[in-house]
Subunit: 337 residues, 2 copies
Amino acid sequence: MTDDELSSRPLPTADDVAAIAGVSRWTVTRAFKNNASISEKTRAKVMAAAEELGYAPDLLASSLASERSNLVAVLVDDFNNPHKLVMLERLTTAMRSAGLDTLLVNTLGSEDAQHALRNATQRRVDAAVLIGVNFDDSILHAALGARRVKKLILFARASDHPETISICVDDVAAMREITDYVIDKGYRRPLFLAGPDTRSAHVFRKETFVAHWQSRFDVTPEVLSVGSYDPRRAFETIERNLTSRRAYPDVIVCENDALAIGAMDALRHALGLRVPDDIAVTGFDDVPLAANRVYDLTTYRQPMTAMAEALVEVVLNRSDGSGLCQFGGRLVPRHSA
Amino acid sequence: MTDDELSSRPLPTADDVAAIAGVSRWTVTRAFKNNASISEKTRAKVMAAAEELGYAPDLLASSLASERSNLVAVLVDDFNNPHKLVMLERLTTAMRSAGLDTLLVNTLGSEDAQHALRNATQRRVDAAVLIGVNFDDSILHAALGARRVKKLILFARASDHPETISICVDDVAAMREITDYVIDKGYRRPLFLAGPDTRSAHVFRKETFVAHWQSRFDVTPEVLSVGSYDPRRAFETIERNLTSRRAYPDVIVCENDALAIGAMDALRHALGLRVPDDIAVTGFDDVPLAANRVYDLTTYRQPMTAMAEALVEVVLNRSDGSGLCQFGGRLVPRHSA
DNA sequence: TAAACTCTTGCACGCGCGAGCAAGCTTGAC
DNA sequence: GTCAAGCTTGCTCGCGCGTGCAAGAGTTTA
């Protein structure tokens, strides 16, 4: 058959396949479904006919007729952090091998999350995954209150909201490990560099660091807030804050790698200091750039693949989503601290 | 009404809204459609009822009933290049404001593109956008031959395939501009660092550079191939290739920023050279990191926003997709060359 | 005031498939 | 050979909305 014939022909449906295979339409449906009650012989017959026609089930019609769409919305509000790309890669990989498709939703600024969420639910997504940073209580409430989204999952972020499912590392354990590492290395004048000040959906790294350091030395470590995870703003914050000082900290513990990289750049290029000789730096996430010899950043790697797989389990209802904030990661010691 | 009431109730349909507004279901549909034949008065009435119920049209059912899904698949095969994040951000922004949703498809390695494409078409996407690098002829043929995808768009990449739509900068003009810039700066011993060797869907930067340099000096510049856009591999390639040399090039012209950054790292940290004093470097793309003071990379910025908007026009059939590979970008001179 | 026109509204039918039940078939024990 | 039990297959009805046409309402012109 020629291209022209193909182009003018509508896509084959289950009826077409059924006609060729000599079975009913519903048998065709069963052939494409796991655990369906169908004999191997007829399934083979159906598959052969499907192959011949180039048939593939219409997921749209399937979603409409059933309660499952196998579509998951992933909402992202921060495209500046390269770590998001790593997350997207892991998530899409895990989801695709489980037959789940990804609807990527850009929340276009913090005020837009509600629209984004509504938009996603109009496509009947089975779940919405938030991998952004600026999602606060009002958004969670709106999303859950209206019941427009079946499942709300926070990825790599904790939440105390009871109807939300969080999948993340045990931030407390992780940050304690970093703190102890820094202390073991002999640093005693720390500065904690924090990101945005979100409320319910956030990380507990700052609080943990402060508390743990206090418990070890009975002094409250200094905290500096950048307001976002933008490396450029971290650069400016460090530059502005440190230039007028008489005494520098000896280590800057950062809430994530984006901040750490901005901080290192500021230390070296704005203040003319050496890392780690003058001031050490630690991060969190282990972004690709952290392994770069320029930065060689001591950081903490989250078990992203395992977390993505856990997310799939939750979406498929094979997990109730409890106890998913206890993932253990791995401290990656490098040269920066 | 309580949360419980809401949770047990199915989502409102157009029928529910119609009942409250005292109109027919089709009038409700019209109220949500632009350019529909409906009076302002009834539209207001419908909207009030919809607001009351929290109704939003079901895009799934809408897609099934019509020939448009307002869904666009974006296929990505390379999550290592941070530039992809910029593209995704621009694309999703432009598409969402045009009412198009994004299906993010990870092609999971080069052999998987066909499955990915089929997967996308099962959701009736209006178009498939390829922003990867490893899409070659066989994939384009399979996709177009089976007619399973209505529109195949290559973003930021040229193609000579007649049934494919390319949206990209004029690589020839861009690369000539870079070449002339490098020449004007006085560099005379160039090395071109190329990425993967894809066939039909690729950039013409290498060819243009070679041809243009030849036309200026009548000598063929040296070309080194990395095989991918991975900065680490660029690092290794440069390190391995330059260490055993007696004479260095005075400028390395890279096919994109990822390569340029890997090359700069190798020059500085593996070979102990200074950039640009010993060897200058240029890139292409203007990734966020290029503006970092550590790299301060001379590069070329593609008009990503305009390109994303052009893509939307193509998807919405407001453009036939011709002449979309003539976008003009901007050379961004920085310190690296 | 009637005719002609435009704008607005309602409706039959279909998009492709799934849940759940009922009928047909096979198998094995008696 | 008979009947119950299990397995396999077919089918009715519906998911929520769009297309295209026809009827109704409103407006203008002669």
